[in-house]
Symmetry: C2
Subunit: 318 residues, 2 copies
């Protein structure tokens, strides 16, 4: 019998999502576990296995599974290792593909999580017919996947596409994870939006704002959104500022690879036009004339985790 | 008889250089004309023709010439046109490849000048065995060519690789050509170095400097270099500042495409370590750990114009 399923796994900083995917790119079953509960990666893999074994049985056992594709932060497609991922508990170089392959008895490939999402977008999402695009994931952090000539850019060492760590405000806000100042991620992630909120509320103690009704621990990109749609000026200003920083960065990225589209993913995109409008404005303002009004700025129509699961599974389906 | 020569032409903002190249990548004859003397592109092409006709005769006439390859600012490899080049006299869209082909009776291809130089580097220069690298031309302006997987990145519309126009200091120095603020070109070009010199001399009227011995029109990147090697502190500071800005930008570019090397070209590279050392320092400081101490930062061993002539000629040799 022909093997018709692949396992796609998206290892995130907080949650690991996984699913069983068929060759039509449909996720038949999916589930999740926490990424942060295991001091040792072997325990994490054991829990993954215990959750996935019943799924695999459901489709007739391992002989029907082509293999496992994984996306993970700092995942290196050349080596199959996760290397020095700042947002994961397991430090140093983790030979994830090897460990998984031994545990599951299935061929396993690994890549960067954002690259996996970009592949998902390329094969099954709104970039299906595009040869040149960039995906930006606006989640807890900022990930990116770059597609040029229909292929993911991985660079000479497998680590290309770390756009979240490019500096957009030299000397600017300190990134707690990397120690770098003024990186894109320090502003346009969910964490960054929360920090902007705290900064603005502190900077303007006299300005009324619905945001002041929340305890500091409750200030999240969601609460900022809730206040913004009620017309709160500070909350609206936060999205304008976030969009400005994002738009300026996107302009730089466009002048690098001249993509047909930028596809935005992740929690922050729930803010819709509150984020999209200032982003587009500042993107266009910072482009050379030859690039203006050419590049589509769109939200993904796939769920971020779906895109990553699909893209990861495609690693072994090809 | 087999056609064994190609014409390579490098159209620069000031000078157009051209040569007859054999299939081994040797420039047999070369010459130059001014790019700025002709209000009409047809007159420019007429002068090119009158200079090149004797060269062509020397190798036995047009039947021995494969074709003409050209590099030009804002040259579009898809259309063969120069589109809205801010540094050229001819405005709007110039169908250069068509016009040349009609005049010379030879197949003509056109690309971006910096991309042509990168191709020259890829085929005949210090990046000969590399699949991933970026060339940065530090001349009157700042050009760039990006190679990924052994291919020049041209993007969806042919205009990729305008790294000189990416913003490195938001709200910073105004670029007189584009009106944009804080672009790389406004700092790390020969023009930018001159402007930094004027700024620093104005900002510190009491500080002694050899640079004050020059009239304002004589202040160039060369005079700054002459003063720097004599130990002048302001002149040295100018190169440190220029290297800082360049290094910060290179770090961002590296986190985009993770190249094996950055190849620097152009007049400013004559400053040698005065420029290279601060550039490398700030490049490394702004990289995520996974990228540190991996990327070669080198000066091209080809002359910039040779690289562009060779790369342009390769357009029709392939």
């Amino acid at each position: 019998m022909k093997k018709v399923y692949a396992i796609g796994i998206d290892v995130g900083g907080t949650t690991t999502k996984f699913g069983l995917v068929n060759t039509d790119g449909e996720i038949l079953i999916q589930s999740r576990i926490s990424s942060g509960n295991h001091d040792f990666v072997e325990d994490f893999i054991d829990e993954l296995y215990s959750k996935m074994a019943p799924m695999i049985e459901q489709v007739g056992g391992e002989e029907n599974i082509i293999g496992i594709g994984m996306g993970a932060p700092n995942g290196n497609v050349y080596t199959g290792s996760i290397e020095y991922a700042p947002n994961l508990k397991w430090k140093g170089i983790i030979p994830m593909a090897d460990l998984m392959s031994k545990k599951f008895g299935l061929p396993t490939k690994l890549t960067n999580d954002a690259n996996a999402a970009a592949v998902g977008e390329l094969l099954f999402g709104c970039a299906k017919n595009m040869k040149h695009f960039i995906t930006i994931t606006l989640g807890t952090g900022v990930g990116s996947g770059i597609v040029i000539d229909g292929k993911i850019v991985v660079g000479h060492d497998g680590f290309a596409g770390e756009l979240g760590h490019t500096i957009v405000r030299p000397g600017g806000r300190m990134h707690k994870g990397t120690g770098m100042k003024g990186s894109l991620e320090s502003y346009v992630s969910a964490t960054g939006v929360r920090e902007t909120a705290i900064e603005l509320l502190t900077l303007h103690p006299d300005k009324e704002s619905l945001l002041r009704n929340y305890k500091i621990n409750e200030l999240t990109s969601e609460t900022v959104y809730e206040c913004a749609i009620q017309g709160d000026p500070i909350a609206n200003h936060i999205f304008e500022f976030t969009g400005q920083i994002l738009g300026e960065s996107l302009a730089n990225f466009i002048m690098f690879s001249s993509p047909e589209a930028i596809v935005l993913f992740g929690g922050l995109t729930k803010a819709g036009n509150l984020l999209l409008n200032p982003t587009r404005k500042h993107m266009e303002e910072n482009l050379l004339p030859i690039f203006k009004n050419k590049v589509k700025l769109i939200f993904s129509d796939l769920k971020e985790s779906d895109a990553a699961i699909l893209g990861a599974s495609a690693l072994v389906m090809e």
